[in-house]
Symmetry: C2
Subunit: 295 residues, 2 copies
């Protein structure tokens, strides 16, 4: 069984991205990401910190605006507008979830689609659904990069994606069935009957449901590739912190049957920020009329 | 075996839509569709004629602009802009395919998303992919109406959609997996292996591939519902015209196994224009700040 850790893949991609940032800089193009964080959600603070660090690592400029949780929708939209109009800002990201009372969808739709590096704006999701994506949804594209760089072909393969979220499951199911990836994709969700039997048909099984260690051995066909997108914190008295992070897949049980499994942590998770950086670089390229940098 | 003809469903829907148009008119809201036809493609001329007739039948105003095939992209975009800015025009539709040399995608993206009654604009496709559709893609929504009004539930059912076009297969696969419809959907296409076996798992099988009578008996599980979206003209010396229209499903062969099959002609096809009229009415409602009329 192959443990599909993403460390080497992430490093190889970030090396390419760092070179691309340097090459853009040499031709006079500075790349810059603006991040908006509203409130004090601890997880969001960690995510935003990681994004700042990734920008620094790659030579991308970052502007982080931290707003109090009492910020009004109007103030938030005004800041988005300022970043939309600022030619030095290539990409804009508003960390979600927003504090209660703020309208997330309105903020997403207020971001200029040309600067929507999360690929959450309906216009960019629609380009994806029409088979001509411009930005790539970060976590789904991270999954595709793991598959591609681990030499796991998707063409003609049966893929089952479990979970229909707007951020992972649905966009990944669309991407995998596009020309080029050419998988036969089944999207499963909370309303699916005989879920284990559906999953057990998959050559490639993707778990993105947010239920700790939900995918057991009987969900997996012998020899399948299993991609675990889950990040769940569960209690564990044996750990110094009293808790640990596990995926949506029961790794130990599934390992005995699968050909390859992504671990949690160290699998899909770390890829997401690198894919965000990829989108920021392409935002800068698109804004200069250049074609996308390809991974 | 039930022959799922759409005549009665279409009539019932159009009766509701006619009442809604009259009720909007009574409150001072006129509904109007602008149609652009470039060139002399015979099929396009017939489609545009049918759309004009449907508008007339329902009390919706229609403006049809017929342009010569030599029309430039610039002239076409200028006309779209004029309709975008005309407050009397609620919906705009540019009949596709366009003559060679014209950029279809640019024209689609030039239409104000608020008037995009074909639901081809990336913004509207994206709202659909995000689970919050505003306009409905016409042919896919026609399929959903046939299912709903024939009391064929989709919740928890296994649906296989064959064909990944941007107009039918992909948007229908997305719609059916959204909350509310809750089907477990597999999207098959030209790259799918063991297509017959995939299809034979379906409780509801949708054929949208454009290959005459391609779906045979072995593609169908006993008791399945089969929806035929295909419209293919094939030679037939026994017909007065020397040809006839058939679907993507071998109707006679499949009838012996399926619980219900939509015929061609007389099944999905006639629904599309009624769903277009539905979108035109909702465009008028949205532009007045009203919620959608629900079918």
């Amino acid at each position: 069984m192959i443990r599909l850790a993403s460390k080497d893949i992430k490093e190889a991609i970030e090396k390419d991205l760092t070179q691309e940032v340097a090459s853009l800089k040499a031709s006079g193009v500075e790349v810059c990401l603006a991040v908006i964080l509203v409130g004090e959600d601890p997880a969001s603070q960690i995510y935003v910190g990681s994004k700042e660090k990734a920008c620094e690592r790659l030579g991308i400029g970052s502007l982080v605006t931290r707003l109090p949780k009492e910020t009004s929708q109007k103030e938030l939209l005004a800041l988005v507008k300022r970043y939309n109009e600022d030619p030095k800002v290539n990409g804009i990201l508003c960390q979600v979830p927003l504090p209660k009372g703020l309208n997330e969808q309105e903020v997403i739709e207020a971001i200029d689609p040309d600067k929507d590096v999360d690929c959450f704006h309906p216009f960019n999701l629609g380009l994806l659904a029409a088979g001509a994506p411009r930005f790539m949804p970060c976590t789904p594209f991270g999954v595709l990069q793991i598959l591609k760089r681990s030499n796991i072909p998707t063409q003609g393969k049966k893929v089952v994606v479990v979970g229909r979220s707007n951020i992972v499951g649905r966009p990944l199911s669309i991407l995998l069935s596009l020309k080029g990836w050419d998988a036969t994709v089944t999207l499963c969700h909370s309303g699916t009957q005989n879920l284990a039997a559906e999953c057990a048909q998959a050559d490639i099984l993707v778990a993105a449901i947010g239920k700790p260690e939900f995918i057991k051995s009987e969900f997996v066909k012998p020899g399948a590739v299993v991609i675990d997108v889950g990040v769940n914190r569960v209690e564990d008295p044996s750990h110094p912190k009293g808790s640990k992070v596990v995926g949506d897949v029961d790794y130990d049980a599934v390992s005995t049957k699968a050909q390859a499994v992504t671990p949690v942590p160290g699998g899909v998770g770390p890829m997401t920020i690198s894919m965000l950086m990829y989108n920021v670089i392409n935002a800068a390229r698109f804004q200069k009329g250049m074609p996308p940098f390809q991974l």
